[in-house]
């Protein structure tokens, strides 16, 4: 973030202004990515008129940066009508898309409408890997063609490379592809749980060894020894720090009008179909609770050696069951980076190694297909 943007963000925080909003226009998608956290069925998306009404309310509330995402935004037939309306309201627009449906004409229209940037998901430079993740043959070629169309219009494009077991070894080639295309590139080694709390897709997360190698890649992190150095203990300032911008200067609205602190923090704070956007932002009890949380309030993390340097996501902690608890995915990243287990990981280890009060051994004679779903040889309580 630039110094000026940081200043503006600090001012927005003081003034209580929602500077940045992600609005998902649809959860429908033309790709079926293996790691996606969404239910792609349409359960009653906001209409064009409802979205325009919401955009007016957001402009009046002071929202400046509007990220339009999904699902796939181009699955909505009214996408350009919505985009045009949003630009008339002078939002700074960022788009997130797989870009499969962007051809020359769409790229030109996006340029004409003054979009700030377009983020395109690319998982690998190899079609057999990218297309296996999206489950759409030919999708890599279409996305790369679209990036070229967008770049030919002079637009800013950012490749988003989510890393998981399937593509962990391809990120350097994706970065090289980004250089060739003239785009920026971001890496994210975190697969998140489904919005409904289903955690089965977390098995796709890259393991500790792969993360460790990633964090020692000096092309990414600069001085690896410095990046992976032992964290300083949390000081008084960091104890009073805010976890992130979610609910403070930023929020998320789903295609059904549900208002959350962040796309990764599915704590419903209200619905814009029933209440004004600004009323939810100002008065929601759930948002007030999110805003009240400081590091010193986190029973485990405030005592953890990683407290001052951890990227703990309050949304992921919420999905684990407690917005004031640890986010294990971030604990694992801190461990892979420094080699020092977090307080949470140590507690989990102690729990696993503690003697079980009851142990049930499966008898070989009854282990068969009937029990394959139990996923283990013993179950303890």
């Amino acid at each position: 973030m630039s110094a000026l943007m940081q200043q503006m963000s600090d001012r927005a925080l003081r003034l209580g202004v929602p500077l940045s909003v992600q609005l998902d226009l649809t959860y429908r998608c033309n790709e079926k990515c293996v790691h996606c956290y969404l239910d792609h069925e349409d359960h009653g998306e906001m209409t064009t008129a409802e979205i325009k009404h919401l955009l007016r309310e957001m402009a009046e509330a002071g929202v400046f940066i509007l990220t339009l995402s999904g699902g796939e935004i181009f699955m909505r037939k009214d996408f350009f009508e919505i985009l045009e309306y949003a630009r008339e309201l002078t939002f700074c627009i960022k788009l997130k898309t797989n870009a499969v449906l962007i051809r020359e004409a769409q790229a030109a229209r996006i340029r004409d409408l003054g979009v700030e940037s377009i983020q395109v998901s690319i998982y690998s430079h190899r079609p057999e890997v990218h297309d296996a993740i999206t489950k759409v043959p030919g999708s890599l070629r279409k996305s790369i063609d679209a990036i070229r169309f967008l770049k030919s219009q002079g637009l800013k494009v950012v490749i988003a490379n989510v890393l998981m077991t399937e593509n962990m070894h391809d990120y350097q080639s994706v970065r090289a592809l980004a250089d060739e295309l003239g785009t920026e590139c971001t890496l994210d080694p975190t697969v998140t749980p489904m919005m409904d709390g289903d955690r089965s897709i977390l098995d796709l997360n890259a393991g500790e060894s792969a993360l460790r190698n990633l964090f020692r890649d000096e092309a990414l992190v600069g001085d690896a020894d410095e990046f992976c150095a032992l964290p300083a203990a949390p000081d008084e300032d960091s104890m009073d720090g805010l976890p992130c911008s979610a609910g403070h200067t930023a929020c998320y609205v789903s295609p059904y009008g549900e208002f959350y602190p962040c796309v990764q923090f599915p704590l419903s704070c209200g619905n814009v179909r029933e209440q004004r956007f600004i009323d939810i932002w100002r008065d929601s009890e759930q948002l007030k609770e999110v805003r009240a949380v400081r590091l010193r309030d986190l029973s485990s993390c405030s005592q953890c050696a990683h407290g001052s340097s951890c990227t703990r996501c309050p949304g992921l902690a919420f999905l684990e069951g407690n917005m004031r608890g640890p986010s294990t995915a971030d604990c694992e990243k801190s461990f892979a980076r420094t080699g020092i287990p977090s307080k949470n990981l140590l507690a989990k280890k102690e729990k696993v190694s503690a003697p079980r009060l009851v142990q049930i051994q499966l008898v070989p004679a009854i282990t068969g297909s009937r029990l394959s779903g139990m996923g283990g040889a013993s179950v303890g309580a």
């Binding site: 000026l4 200043q7 503006m8 630009r87 309201l89 002078t90 700030e116």
Partner: protein, 123 residues
């Protein structure tokens, strides 16, 4: 009067001709929102962020393409700030040139028609 900017964009300088009426309009390619007493402005090309101070914000908000700059200065600036009209006009012209140079304002010696829009003016 003035504004802060995140980085510099090189562009052709728009020279104002003295003693002629000039008209200002907000560029349709920028993003903008009022934040407290200031105006946040992002130019589409180059993703450059600007903040306009309260005086520049008044000028920017009054730039409707139809009201001449001298009328804006007289009705919106001299009435709010203890400043002589000649001095205010000189400052306003310099500021308008700067903003035009960065693609934030359009300047013309003729009224500038508004692009077709279905939306009322935002804050």
């Amino acid at each position: 009067m003035g504004f802060n900017q995140q980085s510099t964009i090189s562009n052709s300088c728009v020279k104002l001709k003295m003693n002629k009426r000039i008209y200002l309009a907000r560029s349709p390619r920028i993003a903008a929102r009022r934040l407290g007493e200031e105006m946040l402005v992002m130019s589409g090309q180059g993703s450059t962020l600007f903040t306009l101070n309260p005086t520049a914000t008044i000028l920017w908000q009054a730039a409707d393409g139809a009201t001449p700059l001298d009328e804006i200065v007289e009705s919106r600036i001299c009435s709010e700030f203890a400043v002589q009209p000649e001095e205010a006009m000189r400052d306003a012209e310099a500021l308008a040139e700067d903003l035009a140079k960065h693609g934030i304002l359009l300047i013309s010696e003729q009224p500038i028609p508004k692009p077709a829009t279905s939306v009322q003016e935002s804050r």
